[in-house]
Amino acid sequence: MSSATATPVAASPATATDGSPKIRGWRNPWRRPWFLETFTWLYLVWSLVPIAIAVLFSFNKGKSQATFQGLSMRWYYTDPVNSVWHNPQLHSAVFVTLKLSAYTTLIAVPIGVAFALGINRWHGKIPLSFNFVMILSFVVPELIFGVAMFFVFTQLFSGVGLGTLAEILGLVTWNVSWPAIIVQARLVTIGRQYEEASADLGCTQLQTMRRVMLPLLTPAIFASAILVFSGVIDDFVIVDLLSSNATNTPMSVIIYSTQHGGNGGPALNALATIMLVMSFIVAGAGFLGYRWMTRGQRIDGRQALATIAGAES
């Protein structure tokens, strides 16, 4: 929608300024917004250059997080004690993060998609109120939710205790709203025609679901899986409150507790850079996959990008 209307706006400066040379400077409504553009660039520099510097420090030869002393892979694997590869805590954190992301995605996405379909078509008070609960779970501050999870697994369902299972249960609950929201938004745009056509042609509900609805929903389901997976990589609060020892502590928590404990160093930058690369790989795969799944549809790269980032639901 935006792409179609962007072109005439972009084309107007030429005609306008050529036609009426009298309105120049501030009065000219089609003047290039230099101030806004400079501001935006400054913002981007402020938002991205510190990250680039932090990535650079992960390759630091020395122990400092403040002075760059030359390039090396010391903090990734050369250092026999403190590198990500050789420090057992940092090493296992990478795999804990990947494990939590995979399990959470595999559980949360099917539940969320089925929930979205059911809630959207089953009319009544119960689905309406649970949809409300689902959106509440999307906006409740993560700390408040984490506190509830902490108490429920240490007091009420104390059999679960803290650790991997608690983390997965908490993360699934926290992330189930992504597929639920995105699939519902997609159902609204698809409308009912396809389902009705399929029913008229004699399909049962299950067949309609499998042959018509699921293929139509695949891009949305895929986008939500990408969001959940990368969301879990970056998650901090829930896993911080629900992890119990080194075997179930993911990267974000290791970075926080080590840095906060005063033992920071370039190895943490290396770990954070690994997180960054993981997220970017997931995002890149998500973007390409989404483009491929929506090929032939009028969806441009920008929309795909925004969808993968959760901005189009």
Binding site: M1, S2, T5, A6, P29, R31, L36, E37, F39, T40, Y43, L44, S47, L48, P50, S64, Q65, A66, I111, A114, F115, L117, G118, R121, W122, P127, F130, V133, M134, L136, V139, V140, P141, E142, L143, A148, M149, F150, F151, V152, T173, V176, A185, G191, A199, A220, S230, S252, I255, Y256, Q259, H260, G264, N269, S279, Q297, L305, A306, A309, A311
Partner: protein
């Protein structure tokens, strides 16, 4: 709305709303309801057991008793047996004589208001520029705006920890420019640093939501303002700003809600008690013998205060999705 439907089959009504309506009444009565209930059931059960029950458990612990021997909380699930010991303790900490939690609550409000307003002041122009003027470079700008969304919060905090060290690049640049005489210990407990960290940490979410909202404003409306003789500033004030009220509110909520529960930004960028927020108080009480019940009550109080903006958000998004369909 923004996600487009696949190409319509020829002859089908183009708008799902208006002309195609009568088809709906031909839908077979209700053989199928059980099917939808079955689909929704796992999600409903999951949310009931792991979202609704946990909050009741927090309430039961907060209003429950304390095991004096182990200093561990004892949950009381029957509301008739609830005790208000924890609640009165928390109230005493917040408002009583020598209350230590009161100033923390006030500081939380100040930090959150300052940081979210700064987010808006910085984020709105950037989102506005990219949504309206970026033209053919919109894709590039969007990638750069969205990039921080994929960079973990901890990485973004580490970046500033590196820069703000006493011998870090920020101090060196300021010394070179003769703006300061001696290096500043930025990470030694400054409110300024914590607010900067909050802004840096949460602004990507604000910009993303704001961009999505501003991008949906029909440029024709803004051009109409121009055609009717409004200047640049007045078009913005009379047309663009009123139209972006809803995106601004949602974006602010998306930023403010998690910021209230933040306890890690100030720990990483300051660590001093003088910059503690309400999140630190709650997090510190978890796992502390004897104080867990108070932590439960405190988190519920925060939830109670935030319930109004949360419900507003839910209603607003619900209305938006209704308008879209």
């Amino acid at each position: 709305m923004a996600i487009q439907a696949p190409p319509q089959p020829p002859g089908a009504p183009s708008a799902p709303g208006a002309p195609g309506r009568p088809a709906r009444s031909r839908r077979p009565a209700q053989p199928a309801r059980a099917f939808w209930i079955l689909l929704a059931a796992p999600g409903i059960l999951w949310l009931a057991i792991l979202f609704i029950v946990p909050f009741y458990a927090v309430l039961a612990i907060g209003e429950g008793k304390l095991n004096r021997l182990y200093e561990s909380p004892v949950a009381v699930y029957n509301p008739l047996d609830w005790s208000s010991a924890n609640l009165s303790n928390v109230m005493h900490d917040l408002f009583g004589a020598g209350a230590f939690a009161g100033p923390i609550a006030v500081r939380t409000v100040i930090y959150v208001v300052a940081a979210s307003l700064l987010c808006l002041i910085i984020g709105y122009p950037a989102a506005y520029f990219v949504s309206r003027f970026a033209g053919r470079r919109k894709g590039l700008f969007l990638v750069l705006l969205i990039a921080p969304f994929w960079i973990s919060y901890m990485m973004r905090m580490l970046a500033w920890i590196d820069l703000l060290q006493t011998n870090g690049y920020v101090n060196r640049a300021l010394l070179d420019l003769h703006l300061i005489g001696t290096p500043v210990n930025w990470l030694g407990g400054h409110s300024f640093t914590v607010i900067l960290g909050l802004v840096y940490g949460y602004i990507p979410y604000l910009i993303l939501v704001l961009f999505a909202g501003l991008d949906r404003i029909d440029p024709a409306l803004i051009e109409a303002g121009r055609d009717l003789g409004l200047g640049r500033a007045r078009t913005f004030l009379r047309v663009t700003l009123p139209l972006s009220r809803q995106p601004i509110l949602t974006a602010m909520l998306i930023t403010v809600l998690p910021m209230v529960g933040d306890y890690f930004t100030n720990q990483l960028l300051s660590g001093a008690p003088s910059t503690s927020m309400i999140g630190n108080l709650i997090e510190g009480q978890l796992g502390t013998p004897g104080l867990e019940g108070q932590g439960a009550i405190l988190s519920l109080l925060v939830l109670l205060i935030l319930l109004v903006p949360m419900i507003y958000y839910v209603v607003a998004t619900h209305r938006a999705s209704q308008e879209a369909s």
